[in-house]
Protein backbone atom coordinates (compact mmCIF):
# COMPACT_ATOMS: atom_id res chain seq x y z
CA UNK A 1 0.00 0.00 0.00
CA UNK A 2 1.64 3.18 -1.16
CA UNK A 3 -0.63 6.15 -0.59
CA UNK A 4 1.58 8.33 -2.84
CA UNK A 5 0.09 6.54 -5.81
CA UNK A 6 -3.35 7.98 -5.14
CA UNK A 7 -3.85 10.65 -7.76
CA UNK A 8 -6.26 13.49 -8.17
CA UNK A 9 -8.02 14.13 -11.45
CA UNK A 10 -5.36 15.59 -13.73
CA UNK A 11 -7.56 18.13 -15.43
CA UNK A 12 -10.82 19.79 -14.47
CA UNK A 13 -13.29 21.50 -16.78
CA UNK A 14 -16.52 23.23 -15.75
CA UNK A 15 -19.17 20.54 -15.71
CA UNK A 16 -21.99 21.10 -18.18
CA UNK A 17 -25.13 19.19 -17.21
CA UNK A 18 -26.77 20.34 -20.42
CA UNK A 19 -24.42 18.28 -22.52
CA UNK A 20 -24.59 14.66 -21.48
CA UNK A 21 -22.34 11.92 -22.83
CA UNK A 22 -23.81 9.02 -20.87
CA UNK A 23 -27.50 9.18 -19.88
CA UNK A 24 -26.79 6.66 -17.10
CA UNK A 25 -24.88 9.40 -15.22
CA UNK A 26 -27.98 11.63 -15.07
CA UNK A 27 -30.30 8.74 -14.32
CA UNK A 28 -28.18 7.54 -11.39
CA UNK A 29 -27.49 11.06 -10.10
CA UNK A 30 -31.27 11.68 -10.01
CA UNK A 31 -31.98 8.38 -8.34
CA UNK A 32 -29.33 8.99 -5.67
CA UNK A 33 -30.72 12.46 -4.98
CA UNK A 34 -34.29 11.13 -4.77
CA UNK A 35 -33.13 8.45 -2.37
CA UNK A 36 -31.23 10.88 -0.13
CA UNK A 37 -31.88 10.48 3.60
CA UNK A 38 -30.35 11.21 6.98
CA UNK A 39 -30.34 9.01 10.10
CA UNK A 40 -32.07 11.74 12.12
CA UNK A 41 -35.26 10.97 10.17
CA UNK A 42 -35.47 7.43 11.58
CA UNK A 43 -37.01 7.13 15.10
CA UNK A 44 -34.25 4.91 16.47
CA UNK A 45 -35.18 5.60 20.08
CA UNK A 46 -38.26 3.42 19.59
CA UNK A 47 -35.84 0.48 19.64
CA UNK A 48 -34.57 1.10 23.19
CA UNK A 49 -37.05 -1.33 24.77
CA UNK A 50 -36.38 -3.94 22.12
CA UNK A 51 -32.63 -3.60 22.63
CA UNK A 52 -33.12 -4.43 26.30
CA UNK A 53 -34.71 -7.78 25.35
CA UNK A 54 -31.50 -8.96 23.63
CA UNK A 55 -29.09 -11.10 25.65
CA UNK A 56 -25.64 -9.62 26.41
CA UNK A 57 -24.14 -11.92 23.73
CA UNK A 58 -26.68 -10.75 21.16
CA UNK A 59 -26.02 -7.12 22.02
CA UNK A 60 -22.27 -7.64 21.71
CA UNK A 61 -22.70 -9.36 18.34
CA UNK A 62 -24.90 -6.54 17.08
CA UNK A 63 -22.45 -3.86 18.11
CA UNK A 64 -19.54 -5.71 16.51
CA UNK A 65 -21.47 -6.20 13.28
CA UNK A 66 -22.23 -2.49 13.17
CA UNK A 67 -18.65 -1.38 13.84
CA UNK A 68 -17.59 -3.74 11.02
CA UNK A 69 -20.06 -2.06 8.70
CA UNK A 70 -18.87 1.34 9.90
CA UNK A 71 -15.32 0.45 8.88
CA UNK A 72 -16.37 -0.54 5.35
CA UNK A 73 -18.50 2.57 4.90
CA UNK A 74 -15.64 4.74 6.15
CA UNK A 75 -13.27 3.08 3.69
CA UNK A 76 -15.69 3.52 0.79
CA UNK A 77 -16.48 7.13 1.73
CA UNK A 78 -12.99 8.43 2.37
CA UNK A 79 -10.90 6.33 -0.05
CA UNK A 80 -12.98 4.06 -2.31
CA UNK A 81 -15.45 6.28 -4.12
CA UNK A 82 -12.93 9.14 -4.17
CA UNK A 83 -10.27 6.91 -5.77
CA UNK A 84 -12.62 6.30 -8.70
CA UNK A 85 -12.82 10.00 -9.61
CA UNK A 86 -9.49 10.30 -11.51
CA UNK A 87 -10.51 7.37 -13.75
CA UNK A 88 -13.94 8.77 -14.63
CA UNK A 89 -14.75 8.90 -18.33
CA UNK A 90 -17.24 11.78 -18.10
CA UNK A 91 -17.40 14.81 -15.79
CA UNK A 92 -20.86 13.68 -14.69
CA UNK A 93 -19.41 10.37 -13.61
CA UNK A 94 -17.03 12.30 -11.34
CA UNK A 95 -20.01 14.11 -9.83
CA UNK A 96 -21.82 10.82 -9.18
CA UNK A 97 -18.76 9.50 -7.28
CA UNK A 98 -18.76 12.57 -5.05
CA UNK A 99 -22.41 11.83 -4.29
CA UNK A 100 -21.58 8.20 -3.52
CA UNK A 101 -18.65 9.23 -1.30
CA UNK A 102 -20.79 11.60 0.74
CA UNK A 103 -23.58 9.05 1.13
CA UNK A 104 -21.09 6.46 2.40
CA UNK A 105 -20.09 8.95 5.07
CA UNK A 106 -23.77 9.35 5.97
CA UNK A 107 -24.01 5.57 6.30
CA UNK A 108 -20.91 5.44 8.50
CA UNK A 109 -22.38 8.14 10.73
CA UNK A 110 -25.74 6.34 11.00
CA UNK A 111 -24.18 3.48 12.93
CA UNK A 112 -22.99 6.00 15.47
CA UNK A 113 -26.58 7.25 15.75
CA UNK A 114 -27.69 3.69 16.47
CA UNK A 115 -24.93 3.28 19.07
CA UNK A 116 -25.58 6.54 20.86
CA UNK A 117 -29.28 5.67 21.05
CA UNK A 118 -28.86 2.13 22.36
CA UNK A 119 -25.50 1.74 24.06
CA UNK A 120 -23.20 3.20 26.70
CA UNK A 121 -20.00 5.08 25.81
CA UNK A 122 -17.94 2.30 27.34
CA UNK A 123 -19.65 -0.35 25.20
CA UNK A 124 -19.23 1.77 22.09
CA UNK A 125 -15.52 2.29 22.72
CA UNK A 126 -15.04 -1.43 23.28
CA UNK A 127 -16.82 -2.31 20.04
CA UNK A 128 -14.62 0.11 18.09
CA UNK A 129 -11.55 -1.36 19.75
CA UNK A 130 -12.73 -4.81 18.62
CA UNK A 131 -13.04 -3.55 15.03
CA UNK A 132 -9.38 -2.51 15.07
CA UNK A 133 -8.25 -5.81 16.54
CA UNK A 134 -10.35 -8.30 14.55
CA UNK A 135 -8.03 -9.96 12.05
CA UNK A 136 -10.64 -10.91 9.42
CA UNK A 137 -12.32 -7.53 9.45
CA UNK A 138 -9.01 -5.72 9.09
CA UNK A 139 -7.97 -8.12 6.34
CA UNK A 140 -11.00 -7.44 4.17
CA UNK A 141 -10.52 -3.70 4.52
CA UNK A 142 -6.82 -4.07 3.66
CA UNK A 143 -7.42 -6.21 0.58
CA UNK A 144 -9.82 -3.65 -0.87
CA UNK A 145 -7.73 -0.67 0.19
CA UNK A 146 -4.73 -2.18 -1.59
CA UNK A 147 -6.57 -1.99 -4.89
CA UNK A 148 -7.78 1.54 -4.29
CA UNK A 149 -4.15 2.65 -4.01
CA UNK A 150 -3.10 0.47 -6.95
CA UNK A 151 -2.68 1.65 -10.51
CA UNK A 152 -5.32 -0.35 -12.40
CA UNK A 153 -8.56 1.66 -12.83
CA UNK A 154 -10.66 -1.36 -13.80
CA UNK A 155 -9.42 -3.48 -10.90
CA UNK A 156 -10.33 -0.59 -8.62
CA UNK A 157 -13.88 -0.77 -9.94
CA UNK A 158 -14.00 -4.53 -9.46
CA UNK A 159 -12.85 -4.17 -5.84
CA UNK A 160 -15.31 -1.34 -5.28
CA UNK A 161 -18.27 -3.26 -6.71
CA UNK A 162 -17.41 -6.33 -4.62
CA UNK A 163 -17.33 -4.13 -1.53
CA UNK A 164 -20.67 -2.47 -2.32
CA UNK A 165 -22.46 -5.62 -3.44
CA UNK A 166 -20.83 -8.43 -1.44
CA UNK A 167 -18.73 -7.47 1.58
CA UNK A 168 -21.44 -5.59 3.45
CA UNK A 169 -23.80 -8.54 3.59
CA UNK A 170 -22.32 -10.58 6.42
CA UNK A 171 -23.24 -7.51 8.44
CA UNK A 172 -26.57 -6.62 6.82
CA UNK A 173 -27.82 -10.11 7.65
CA UNK A 174 -28.15 -9.40 11.36
CA UNK A 175 -30.54 -6.42 11.35
CA UNK A 176 -32.69 -8.33 8.80
CA UNK A 177 -32.66 -11.29 11.19
CA UNK A 178 -33.74 -9.11 14.12
CA UNK A 179 -36.40 -7.48 11.99
CA UNK A 180 -37.82 -10.89 11.02
CA UNK A 181 -38.24 -11.53 14.76
CA UNK A 182 -39.85 -8.12 15.29
CA UNK A 183 -36.76 -6.78 17.08
CA UNK A 184 -34.89 -3.51 16.45
CA UNK A 185 -37.36 -2.74 13.66
CA UNK A 186 -36.49 0.96 13.41
CA UNK A 187 -32.81 0.14 13.17
CA UNK A 188 -33.74 -2.31 10.40
CA UNK A 189 -35.59 0.48 8.58
CA UNK A 190 -32.42 2.56 8.63
CA UNK A 191 -30.31 -0.37 7.41
CA UNK A 192 -32.77 -0.94 4.55
CA UNK A 193 -32.05 2.62 3.39
CA UNK A 194 -28.35 1.79 3.36
CA UNK A 195 -29.01 -1.48 1.51
CA UNK A 196 -30.99 0.40 -1.12
CA UNK A 197 -28.15 2.91 -1.63
CA UNK A 198 -25.50 0.19 -1.90
CA UNK A 199 -27.54 -1.46 -4.67
CA UNK A 200 -27.45 1.70 -6.75
CA UNK A 201 -23.73 2.19 -6.02
CA UNK A 202 -22.85 -1.39 -6.99
CA UNK A 203 -25.00 -1.20 -10.10
CA UNK A 204 -23.41 2.06 -11.24
CA UNK A 205 -19.76 1.20 -10.54
CA UNK A 206 -20.33 -2.22 -12.16
CA UNK A 207 -21.86 -0.50 -15.18
CA UNK A 208 -18.87 1.83 -15.49
CA UNK A 209 -16.57 -1.18 -15.23
CA UNK A 210 -18.37 -2.74 -18.20
CA UNK A 211 -18.11 0.52 -20.14
CA UNK A 212 -14.38 0.42 -19.40
CA UNK A 213 -14.15 -3.09 -20.87
CA UNK A 214 -15.53 -1.93 -24.22
CA UNK A 215 -12.87 -1.87 -26.88
CA UNK A 216 -10.31 -3.84 -24.86
CA UNK A 217 -8.60 -6.90 -26.33
CA UNK A 218 -10.13 -10.32 -25.64
CA UNK A 219 -6.97 -11.19 -23.77
CA UNK A 220 -7.28 -8.26 -21.40
CA UNK A 221 -10.99 -8.94 -20.89
CA UNK A 222 -10.21 -12.56 -20.02
CA UNK A 223 -7.51 -11.43 -17.59
CA UNK A 224 -9.91 -9.07 -15.81
CA UNK A 225 -12.61 -11.71 -15.62
CA UNK A 226 -10.20 -14.21 -14.13
CA UNK A 227 -8.98 -11.56 -11.73
CA UNK A 228 -12.57 -10.81 -10.63
CA UNK A 229 -13.23 -14.43 -9.70
CA UNK A 230 -9.85 -14.76 -7.94
CA UNK A 231 -10.51 -11.67 -5.87
CA UNK A 232 -14.02 -12.83 -5.07
CA UNK A 233 -12.66 -16.18 -3.83
CA UNK A 234 -10.01 -14.47 -1.73
CA UNK A 235 -12.61 -12.19 -0.18
CA UNK A 236 -15.09 -15.05 0.18
CA UNK A 237 -12.68 -17.22 2.16
CA UNK A 238 -11.97 -14.36 4.51
CA UNK A 239 -15.68 -13.58 4.72
CA UNK A 240 -16.48 -17.14 5.78
CA UNK A 241 -13.93 -16.85 8.60
CA UNK A 242 -15.36 -13.52 9.63
CA UNK A 243 -18.87 -14.97 9.61
CA UNK A 244 -17.89 -17.88 11.85
CA UNK A 245 -16.04 -15.52 14.12
CA UNK A 246 -19.13 -13.40 14.63
CA UNK A 247 -22.09 -15.72 14.32
CA UNK A 248 -20.95 -19.07 15.75
CA UNK A 249 -21.88 -17.86 19.24
CA UNK A 250 -25.54 -17.58 18.19
CA UNK A 251 -25.58 -20.53 15.76
CA UNK A 252 -26.38 -18.49 12.65
CA UNK A 253 -23.18 -18.88 10.60
CA UNK A 254 -24.59 -21.37 8.06
CA UNK A 255 -27.63 -19.21 7.44
CA UNK A 256 -25.42 -16.14 6.95
CA UNK A 257 -23.26 -18.01 4.42
CA UNK A 258 -26.26 -18.62 2.17
CA UNK A 259 -26.90 -14.90 2.24
CA UNK A 260 -23.23 -14.34 1.29
CA UNK A 261 -23.50 -16.69 -1.71
CA UNK A 262 -26.70 -15.03 -2.85
CA UNK A 263 -25.12 -11.58 -2.71
CA UNK A 264 -21.83 -12.72 -4.28
CA UNK A 265 -23.90 -13.77 -7.29
CA UNK A 266 -25.50 -10.34 -7.45
CA UNK A 267 -22.11 -8.65 -7.20
CA UNK A 268 -20.89 -10.69 -10.17
CA UNK A 269 -24.00 -9.75 -12.15
CA UNK A 270 -23.37 -6.08 -11.41
CA UNK A 271 -19.99 -6.57 -13.08
CA UNK A 272 -21.66 -8.23 -16.06
CA UNK A 273 -20.67 -11.80 -15.18
CA UNK A 274 -22.83 -14.85 -14.64
CA UNK A 275 -23.79 -15.94 -11.14
CA UNK A 276 -21.30 -18.43 -9.70
CA UNK A 277 -22.92 -20.05 -6.66
CA UNK A 278 -25.55 -22.67 -7.57
CA UNK A 279 -29.14 -22.45 -6.32
CA UNK A 280 -28.49 -25.22 -3.79
CA UNK A 281 -26.33 -22.87 -1.68
CA UNK A 282 -28.16 -19.59 -2.30
CA UNK A 283 -31.48 -20.62 -0.74
CA UNK A 284 -31.60 -17.70 1.67
CA UNK A 285 -33.85 -18.15 4.69
CA UNK A 286 -37.29 -16.90 3.50
CA UNK A 287 -37.66 -14.85 6.69
CA UNK A 288 -34.48 -12.93 5.83
CA UNK A 289 -35.49 -12.46 2.21
CA UNK A 290 -38.90 -11.24 3.26
CA UNK A 291 -37.33 -8.81 5.77
CA UNK A 292 -35.32 -7.48 2.84
CA UNK A 293 -38.19 -7.34 0.36
CA UNK A 294 -41.79 -8.38 1.06
CA UNK A 295 -42.28 -9.23 -2.65
CA UNK A 296 -39.38 -11.63 -2.92
CA UNK A 297 -41.03 -14.89 -1.87
CA UNK A 298 -42.22 -17.78 -4.03
CA UNK A 299 -45.88 -16.81 -3.68
CA UNK A 300 -45.11 -14.19 -6.25
CA UNK A 301 -43.95 -16.76 -8.80
CA UNK A 302 -46.99 -17.49 -10.96
CA UNK A 303 -45.09 -20.00 -13.06
CA UNK A 304 -44.48 -22.36 -10.15
CA UNK A 305 -48.05 -22.03 -8.85
CA UNK A 306 -50.99 -24.06 -10.16
CA UNK A 307 -52.05 -21.20 -12.35
CA UNK A 308 -55.69 -22.06 -11.71
CA UNK A 309 -56.45 -18.54 -10.62
CA UNK A 310 -55.41 -17.15 -13.95
CA UNK A 311 -57.92 -15.06 -15.81
CA UNK A 312 -57.32 -13.89 -19.32
CA UNK A 313 -56.28 -10.28 -19.07
CA UNK A 314 -58.76 -7.75 -20.25
CA UNK A 315 -57.14 -4.48 -21.09
CA UNK A 316 -58.80 -1.60 -19.33
CA UNK A 317 -59.03 1.83 -20.79
CA UNK A 318 -55.94 3.60 -19.63
CA UNK A 319 -55.67 7.32 -19.89
CA UNK A 320 -52.34 8.89 -20.67
CA UNK A 321 -52.25 10.67 -17.35
CA UNK A 322 -52.63 7.31 -15.60
CA UNK A 323 -49.03 6.87 -16.46
CA UNK A 324 -46.85 9.16 -14.44
CA UNK A 325 -44.34 10.82 -16.68
Amino acid sequence: MTPEKLKLASHVKAINWNRIEDEKDVEVWNRLCNNFWLPEKVPLSNDIQSWATLTPDEQLLTMRVFTGLTLLDTLQGTVGAVSLIPDAITPHEEAVYTNIAFMESVHAKSYSSIFSTLCSTKEIDEAFRWSVENVNLQKKAQIIEGYYYGDDPLKRKIASTLLESFLFYSGFYLPMYWSSRAKLTNTADLIRLIIRDEAVHGYYIGYKYQKGLEGLSDERKAELKEYTFELLFELYENEVQYTHDLYDSVGLAEDVKKFLHYNANKALMNLGYEAMFPAAVTDVNPAILSALSPNADENHDFFSGSGSSYVIGKAVNTEDDDWDF
Binding site: K24, R31, Q210, M269, E274, Y310, G313, T318
Partner: protein, 158 residues
Protein backbone atom coordinates in the same frame (compact mmCIF):
# COMPACT_ATOMS: atom_id res chain seq x y z
CA UNK B 1 -18.13 -7.88 -24.59
CA UNK B 2 -21.25 -9.95 -24.25
CA UNK B 3 -23.51 -6.96 -24.96
CA UNK B 4 -22.30 -6.84 -28.54
CA UNK B 5 -22.87 -10.54 -29.14
CA UNK B 6 -26.21 -10.11 -27.44
CA UNK B 7 -27.25 -7.40 -29.88
CA UNK B 8 -26.34 -9.66 -32.78
CA UNK B 9 -28.39 -12.49 -31.28
CA UNK B 10 -31.59 -10.54 -30.88
CA UNK B 11 -31.16 -8.21 -33.82
CA UNK B 12 -31.76 -4.56 -34.30
CA UNK B 13 -35.25 -3.26 -34.71
CA UNK B 14 -35.87 -2.66 -38.36
CA UNK B 15 -39.60 -2.10 -38.21
CA UNK B 16 -41.86 -0.69 -35.56
CA UNK B 17 -44.25 -3.62 -36.01
CA UNK B 18 -43.48 -6.78 -34.12
CA UNK B 19 -45.14 -10.18 -33.81
CA UNK B 20 -42.77 -11.34 -31.05
CA UNK B 21 -44.50 -12.99 -28.09
CA UNK B 22 -42.01 -11.32 -25.73
CA UNK B 23 -41.46 -7.58 -25.71
CA UNK B 24 -38.95 -6.08 -23.32
CA UNK B 25 -37.22 -2.93 -22.23
CA UNK B 26 -33.60 -2.80 -21.10
CA UNK B 27 -31.53 0.29 -20.32
CA UNK B 28 -27.93 0.81 -21.41
CA UNK B 29 -26.80 -1.46 -18.57
CA UNK B 30 -28.23 -4.35 -20.64
CA UNK B 31 -29.12 -6.53 -17.63
CA UNK B 32 -32.62 -7.35 -18.89
CA UNK B 33 -31.29 -7.67 -22.43
CA UNK B 34 -28.80 -10.32 -21.29
CA UNK B 35 -31.59 -12.25 -19.61
CA UNK B 36 -33.56 -12.28 -22.88
CA UNK B 37 -30.52 -13.44 -24.84
CA UNK B 38 -30.04 -16.33 -22.40
CA UNK B 39 -33.75 -17.15 -22.77
CA UNK B 40 -33.16 -17.57 -26.49
CA UNK B 41 -36.75 -16.90 -27.56
CA UNK B 42 -38.16 -14.58 -30.20
CA UNK B 43 -38.19 -11.17 -28.54
CA UNK B 44 -38.39 -7.48 -29.48
CA UNK B 45 -36.70 -4.66 -27.57
CA UNK B 46 -38.46 -1.36 -26.95
CA UNK B 47 -36.15 1.41 -28.24
CA UNK B 48 -33.73 2.90 -25.73
CA UNK B 49 -34.70 6.52 -26.34
CA UNK B 50 -38.16 8.01 -26.11
CA UNK B 51 -37.57 10.13 -29.23
CA UNK B 52 -37.39 6.92 -31.26
CA UNK B 53 -40.57 5.33 -32.63
CA UNK B 54 -41.92 2.74 -30.24
CA UNK B 55 -43.05 -0.78 -31.13
CA UNK B 56 -46.48 -1.78 -32.43
CA UNK B 57 -47.47 -5.26 -31.26
CA UNK B 58 -49.28 -7.42 -33.82
CA UNK B 59 -49.77 -10.52 -31.66
CA UNK B 60 -50.44 -11.22 -27.96
CA UNK B 61 -47.28 -10.76 -25.94
CA UNK B 62 -45.74 -10.83 -22.47
CA UNK B 63 -43.94 -7.66 -21.38
CA UNK B 64 -40.63 -7.90 -19.53
CA UNK B 65 -39.47 -4.75 -17.79
CA UNK B 66 -37.01 -3.72 -15.08
CA UNK B 67 -37.45 -1.53 -12.00
CA UNK B 68 -34.47 0.65 -11.17
CA UNK B 69 -35.08 1.39 -7.53
CA UNK B 70 -37.20 4.51 -7.53
CA UNK B 71 -38.47 5.34 -4.11
CA UNK B 72 -42.12 5.70 -5.07
CA UNK B 73 -44.62 4.52 -7.66
CA UNK B 74 -44.17 7.72 -9.59
CA UNK B 75 -41.45 7.27 -12.15
CA UNK B 76 -41.06 3.53 -11.48
CA UNK B 77 -42.21 2.54 -14.99
CA UNK B 78 -39.54 3.53 -17.54
CA UNK B 79 -40.72 6.31 -19.86
CA UNK B 80 -39.98 4.18 -22.90
CA UNK B 81 -42.45 1.57 -21.59
CA UNK B 82 -45.04 4.24 -20.86
CA UNK B 83 -44.77 5.45 -24.44
CA UNK B 84 -45.22 1.88 -25.67
CA UNK B 85 -48.27 1.23 -23.45
CA UNK B 86 -49.89 4.53 -24.27
CA UNK B 87 -50.75 2.93 -27.60
CA UNK B 88 -54.16 1.27 -26.97
CA UNK B 89 -53.48 -1.57 -29.44
CA UNK B 90 -50.43 -2.56 -27.43
CA UNK B 91 -52.44 -2.62 -24.21
CA UNK B 92 -55.08 -4.81 -25.85
CA UNK B 93 -52.50 -7.43 -26.75
CA UNK B 94 -50.57 -7.59 -23.46
CA UNK B 95 -51.19 -10.91 -21.69
CA UNK B 96 -48.75 -10.89 -18.81
CA UNK B 97 -45.79 -9.16 -17.19
CA UNK B 98 -42.37 -10.33 -16.00
CA UNK B 99 -40.40 -8.04 -13.71
CA UNK B 100 -36.66 -7.62 -13.28
CA UNK B 101 -35.22 -5.83 -10.26
CA UNK B 102 -33.20 -6.05 -7.09
CA UNK B 103 -34.51 -7.14 -3.66
CA UNK B 104 -32.29 -4.43 -2.17
CA UNK B 105 -35.04 -2.04 -3.20
CA UNK B 106 -37.34 -3.58 -0.59
CA UNK B 107 -41.02 -2.82 -1.14
CA UNK B 108 -40.29 -1.43 -4.59
CA UNK B 109 -38.70 -4.68 -5.85
CA UNK B 110 -40.09 -5.12 -9.39
CA UNK B 111 -42.62 -2.35 -8.70
CA UNK B 112 -42.85 -1.35 -12.38
CA UNK B 113 -44.09 -4.87 -13.15
CA UNK B 114 -46.76 -4.56 -10.43
CA UNK B 115 -47.94 -1.22 -11.80
CA UNK B 116 -48.24 -2.43 -15.39
CA UNK B 117 -49.96 -5.68 -14.30
CA UNK B 118 -52.46 -3.69 -12.27
CA UNK B 119 -53.19 -1.10 -14.94
CA UNK B 120 -53.50 -3.62 -17.76
CA UNK B 121 -55.27 -6.20 -15.58
CA UNK B 122 -52.85 -9.02 -16.32
CA UNK B 123 -50.75 -11.29 -14.08
CA UNK B 124 -47.28 -10.38 -12.89
CA UNK B 125 -45.95 -13.81 -13.84
CA UNK B 126 -42.42 -13.85 -12.48
CA UNK B 127 -39.76 -11.74 -10.83
CA UNK B 128 -36.00 -12.08 -11.08
CA UNK B 129 -32.94 -10.07 -10.10
CA UNK B 130 -30.51 -8.20 -12.35
CA UNK B 131 -29.69 -10.42 -15.35
CA UNK B 132 -31.23 -13.53 -13.75
CA UNK B 133 -29.63 -16.82 -12.70
CA UNK B 134 -29.69 -19.96 -14.87
CA UNK B 135 -32.60 -21.21 -12.72
CA UNK B 136 -34.55 -18.05 -13.53
CA UNK B 137 -33.90 -18.56 -17.22
CA UNK B 138 -35.12 -22.18 -17.11
CA UNK B 139 -38.25 -21.35 -15.16
CA UNK B 140 -39.23 -18.46 -17.38
CA UNK B 141 -38.57 -20.42 -20.57
CA UNK B 142 -40.73 -23.34 -19.38
CA UNK B 143 -43.24 -21.06 -17.71
CA UNK B 144 -43.81 -19.04 -20.87
CA UNK B 145 -44.28 -22.17 -22.98
CA UNK B 146 -46.93 -23.49 -20.58
CA UNK B 147 -48.49 -20.07 -20.34
CA UNK B 148 -49.02 -19.72 -24.09
CA UNK B 149 -50.28 -23.31 -24.37
CA UNK B 150 -52.79 -22.78 -21.58
CA UNK B 151 -53.87 -19.49 -23.06
CA UNK B 152 -54.50 -20.96 -26.50
CA UNK B 153 -56.50 -23.82 -24.90
CA UNK B 154 -58.60 -21.34 -22.95
CA UNK B 155 -59.28 -19.38 -26.11
CA UNK B 156 -60.32 -22.52 -28.00
CA UNK B 157 -62.73 -23.52 -25.25
CA UNK B 158 -64.57 -20.23 -25.32
Amino acid sequence: MSAITAEAAVGRIVSRKTSSPLIYFSSASDNTHRFVVKLGVDAARIPLYTYEDTLLAQEPFVLLLPTYGGETRRGAVPKQVIKFLNIPENRQLIRGVIGAGNTNFGTTYCLAGDIVAEKCNVQHLYRFELMGTSEDVDRVREGLEEFWTRLSQNTTQQ
